[in-house]
Symmetry: D2
């Protein structure tokens, strides 16, 4: 299992997101509080939208807590959209091509969870990927195949519908192989403007997911908290677990829900397989 965060708002230094919070993602890499595994040391990745068309990616197979280059990059790169992910492998190899977020054009994708019995289901799932997209699958994870399924099923046109269809395919393929509860997921995806985050599992007991609340309200409640003053009013975070214990700062995303974050507003939609 893994931990991740998705930021949108005015440009911030990556280190403000990845290192400075009390329970930052780098802290979670060694001591996650809500994860299935306390240690998420099997590589990490960051995707950030700078001045260029395509987001930048930094993928590394070392634990995040050790990586000096991540610290350097984080101290120098600013971005208004940031995806970051720390990995706890469920068996597939620790290699850069298995690090999240995955990228396709302007799109990023990251996943916490697993497709149960993925080795058994993999061939059928891969066959459901658009043959034109298939050669671009680089790694060996369930998460990347899930991304390519969603891309094949319309992610770029209608993300919630495409993810619902992809989950539907996974559950159908699972059932056909006798895997009763194949999907466990929190997922985030973005085109660099809007962020869509999903919490779902076949068994209805999904991994934790939270979104931050309105920054301007928080600022009134905690006028002395310096972190809040650095954030723009439209800043929003969706995270696997809260980055600190400021009361009222985090709201749990309900089961079977899609969170849409756009221009400082979040909208919660019911989500289920199609």
């Amino acid at each position: 299992m893994c931990r991740w965060l998705a930021y949108s708002g005015s440009p911030v230094l990556l280190e403000d997101l990845l290192y400075k919070p009390a329970n930052s993602l780098v802290v979670q890499s060694r001591h996650s509080q809500l994860g299935v595994e306390t240690v998420n040391g099997d590589g990490f990745g960051v995707g950030w939208y700078g001045a260029e068309d395509t987001p930048g990616l930094y993928h590394c197979t070392e634990p995040a807590w050790n990586d000096r280059n991540l610290k350097e990059l984080s101290a120098h790169a600013r971005a208004g959209r940031v995806f970051a992910h720390i990995r706890a492998s469920t068996g597939t190899a620790v290699q850069q091509t298995n690090c999240h977020p995955f990228r396709h054009g302007r799109w990023l994708w990251m996943h916490n969870g697993a497709i149960t019995d993925f080795p058994v289901l993999k061939r059928d799932l891969v066959l459901a990927v658009d043959p034109d997209l298939y050669p671009q699958i680089e790694g060996s994870t369930d998460s990347e195949v899930f991304f390519f399924l969603a891309l094949s099923l319309g992610l770029r046109e209608d993300p919630p519908a495409a993810v619902a269809r992809a989950v539907g395919v996974v559950e159908e393929v699972g059932r056909s192989h006798g895997v009763a509860l194949p999907m466990q997921m929190t997922v985030a995806t973005t085109d660099g403007e809007t962020t869509w985050a999903f919490r779902y599992s076949s068994e209805g007991r999904s991994r934790s997911l939270f979104h931050s609340t309105d920054v301007s309200t928080l600022r009134q409640q905690y006028p002395d908290n310096p972190v809040l003053h650095d954030l723009s009013d439209d800043a929003r975070l969706v995270v696997s677990e809260p980055l600190g214990d400021l009361r009222g700062a985090w709201r749990e995303v309900p089961e079977s829900t899609c969170v849409v974050v756009r221009e400082g507003n979040e909208e919660l939609l019911p989500f289920g397989p199609a």
Copy 2:
């Protein structure tokens, strides 16, 4: 493109094979003489048959010339069957799961060359792999898919026939996608007893391949050469390029040929796609 060696004979220290020859594989990693690329620095691998049932594997993504662990392992491991490979990537990621030799049970496989336009052909080739074997494909190279094709087509029963069939599939899939000359290869495979090496390409202009000649004859010709005294009479090497310039020590393997090395004898058979 890549360089490789396949040794069979009485147990030797790996360093005698990998470091001591004048044009050793480690030297070739930086300055290959006959390779398409002079630098083969995109990872390497060694497979060796020790006392255990399954051969050991050491795969690393660094250049072989740098790797201290390879030097240590080579100074301490002895084996009577050794496969070693240095990689020059033709585009796929530099990661351990893309390092040769690949292993399946007691079998090892390594490849120099490429399947032309592999991204275009990959899906059809992967579909031709036995679905029960498919989940064991770990990396993203053409070489590993080729191995799994051969396994699917009977490698463990009749290696020359299975490789011929696998080449046949590749050429057929190639043609169906308009790739006229899809296969370029020298390949070695072994079950730990016999070694089979193949030189073939669709265009009939294959990468170089050599086998060593009879050690006892060489020893008579060069009574003062200490290297020859450490080798048993049944020692044989099949290599991408000679490990030194001892005249008479190396014989080029002809085009479209399979070399079978067993108990100190080599047999050359004509080889072509089935």
Copy 3:
């Protein structure tokens, strides 16, 4: 801080030491029970005495739990003397030259603990190293400087006396810089025959250290335990923490003690700085 084990006895597969015990060193790399840090993921190392004069070393900067090459090596290398160490860096870089065990000729050395305020003391400590040995210091850890101090002060002639002198130098240099309690250590060293292990700290509250008890007695107590049947009567382990919960199998080494393991016997000697 770190965790380590030192084995002596009849040759065993490394995996019997590193992977098979319930609380093996590889398990401890992610979830140590008695360590200052639960995660020891900042590299690891193994030293083993095979057929060659000099022990082999395998050093890696990845977490031990991830390393496929360690698994392969462990499944194929047998040795009658094994040192293994998993690292939790106290600040110095994660690099192979900082991985324990350190080697000098036939000698190995590994350390759990730290020299307090090492950056402040380092220059004076390094100046106390024999100038002829000085150029062989490759890394940047306190542990390696400590090893070279001991080598400079007679490790190869009288290990307990040399380590006592080295601790004396560290404490003297510490005091001269106002560092009241500079040394925290469990240390093991061997020449491939005898193993010397030390538990000591300036404050008298040292990291945990245990040695295994007589195997033949254990075998009588637990006639059905298969692990015990694979070990020779003279097999002995000295470890940072027990590898399992077999009652009576482990005895804590007292504070300020040197354990000498030789030919299946252990001797406990009082230890203090000279």
Copy 4:
């Protein structure tokens, strides 16, 4: 030996410097034309001055030609001062702490060449480093010790004088140990504003060094060359070897010379040990 480039001018994407030129540094990492070694695959580093006070550093032990993260960073980071270096180790370990450029506060330093018999001279050279700076030496290279010597001898106040003194110390220590010609160097250092580059060797036969000529003149000569149009008039490069074969674009730096690049002007000063 190594290859490097030092850029100053208006902010450019790092990829314009590192990837786009015909004989870019990434190309040189595999096929250097003027280097002592054609392959510079033992790690690399980039230092860049962005919006923050301290330059960013990216150090990696893999060959530059392989590194996907370098490609990503280069496609997203813009800087008006860039130091980049590819390494061919002369024996010291391939690890991040041995990658150039080295950093101290706002200062960067990189070196091509070697201090002859460095293991013999190292202790005396290290003793000449300011004890307050000594603990900040992290790696094991001659180049980093040279940097700390220069820092100890006034680099931040008067770079040419400090480097002259540091070379003087190296040559004096060398002579005292019977090393006749201890210094071989091209070096670049910067405070983020001015760049100082040095070409010198004890034997008077130094590694190659070039600086670019006036961009506005070049633009007149080659009105159709698009690369020149992206560069500001004050853009200047100092390089180990030309990045392309545009006639008139590169001027060799004479032996025993210091080049000072400031605000689009270069000044050449005689240089020798003090």
